[in-house]
Subunit: 338 residues, 2 copies
Amino acid sequence: MATPSIKEVARQAGVSVGTVSNFLNRPSIVAPATRKRVQESIDALGFVRNEAARHLRAGKSRTVGLVVLDVTNPFFTDLAEGAEALAYAHDTVVMLCNSKTDPVREGHHLDQLEQQRVMGILITPFDSRDPRLTALVDRGTPVVLVDRTADRGLCSVSVDDQLGGRLAGNHLIEAGHRRIAFIGGPFTMQQVADRKEGITAVVEESGEVDLRFYEVDVMGAVQGRAVGERIAALPARSRPTAAFLANDLLALGFLQAMAAAGLRVPRDMAIVGYDDIDFAGAAAVPLSSVRQPAELLGRTAMELLQEEVESAERHRHRQVIFQPDLIVRDSSDHQRRR
Amino acid sequence: MATPSIKEVARQAGVSVGTVSNFLNRPSIVAPATRKRVQESIDALGFVRNEAARHLRAGKSRTVGLVVLDVTNPFFTDLAEGAEALAYAHDTVVMLCNSKTDPVREGHHLDQLEQQRVMGILITPFDSRDPRLTALVDRGTPVVLVDRTADRGLCSVSVDDQLGGRLAGNHLIEAGHRRIAFIGGPFTMQQVADRKEGITAVVEESGEVDLRFYEVDVMGAVQGRAVGERIAALPARSRPTAAFLANDLLALGFLQAMAAAGLRVPRDMAIVGYDDIDFAGAAAVPLSSVRQPAELLGRTAMELLQEEVESAERHRHRQVIFQPDLIVRDSSDHQRRR
DNA sequence: CCCGGTGATTTAGACGATTCAAATCGACCT
DNA sequence: AGGTCGATTTGAATCGTCTAAATCACCGGG
């Protein structure tokens, strides 16, 4: 009682397989009476198209791989949302892969996606110049970098992370902070490096600010809390009075560590996060954050991919860069805090 | 310059396609010298297996669909982790799908997975007796219910949610609470209904406790905060003194609302969550929570699926049920709280 | 009554990998 | 030289769907 194929449907309906296929793909050229008969057979047999066969025959898949660093991070799920919305409109499927900031997992996913001959891959790579990635592209899989700027012949969609770092830095410096912590990681990740560079630049311009770096391996709430505990334990006179964290999960964990240690936010510690996930505005102390247009990123990435797939040869790679916005809330703003 | 097929590899290596296939699938029967030659051609050409073709020929896929209610919830990603670990060992791939507690999205994913002829589906369904799900099973796709108990002919892996509700309820009642809120939703979801039933049962047994219900549409931190604000706004004499929330994200949001409203936890409001996600223990006030063995759930579900796929006809469906544990932390424990 | 259309349907290969019966090749034995 | 056995390799068929080309039925015009 295996799943019926187009052939069984044809027999049941008393037509040829070609007609069934036509019914499926170009119903308008099938006579109404035949159409009805085929539809009935399909329903009766419970026929479901075999995507593998279609794919093999067509030579191209209708699924797109999306590889992100952390599915738990709302920034990435929002991004996925944007990509899926567009995919849905183009009758394609998004395969979501979680690399968990681990190059090995990432590589595994890429292998699988390539074997599946996906029509393309959207990826926030651990390392954008990973040779595996380059090889994949050379072999013909269209790739769009997400949340990273491509240098070479690739499309990419990103946000100006240096600017994001500058915005956060300026904001904290103007509020009078002179000891600031930058927390994120791994520092080898381009995004993190850029944000770090941004705040470093404005700190150097201002001259008199002490900026310290704390590196984490993965940017999650748990790590944020851990760093927060270490910093809270410092003597008040040498402790930073403000922290800029490279994502909101980190910032949320950090915020909780402050609360647990009895430090008031923003009075004792001002906090600025990154991504402006929904949850940030709803935190115990609403979190200031550098907003990235996550959904737009995803949507645009998918757009670029579709474009590349459709126009094939005469496609010019493009690097789209969005501007981030600083959203100031209580966690970094004395005035607002009652 | 399309991706080379096994045929090109064969030509390049001066052997037949059969030999290349043998090299790929049963290397031991290929002569060492030939093996070397084929390997070289594969490397030179950058050959990558075409999964669609393998699948079509083999008649069965090597990917498993995993449909969860919320990828943002660490409970589900832990679960996915368990499933993936086992899948990896069996050389299969997990396709992660996020239904976002939306039956329409869920249906869409199921359709796609069926068209892809996945070898099976692990799903936390919105409604376990959805006819679409039944139809899918009847048409031959093995399905294992996750975090839900199957009534009919299906395998399932779940945790005794009623017991979870009882544990939380008993704990709060014993601590002296007489006005308790239960927060979760939608109440039509079996898990939520069971937890609710569990606490309702112990409340009724005790006689003198006032239990109130708050329903949310999706169980996320944002919703938790919203309910928290409503409850915090109640006059102290009629306000519940304890809340049991059907998952930890909800509880985290709720906790933040308490902090924002100036209510102390657990003195003014005791809180017990559900799932015991990593983040729960790291919250500003460490969260009491009913622990579910998420990874084990995922792993076991995959095990059952493999079993079903392999033993085919003579397979007996099984319903595995795990026991939850109550983890008591500061959020519900006066003693511990300084 | 035959010809040319037109509209509907059928036929006949691909697509890429796998499998299995059959062919090939040596080496070895008698 | 003929035969046998084992180890390798080959060739063809197959999976389900799609498409281009071919076929068919039927109609009206000449």
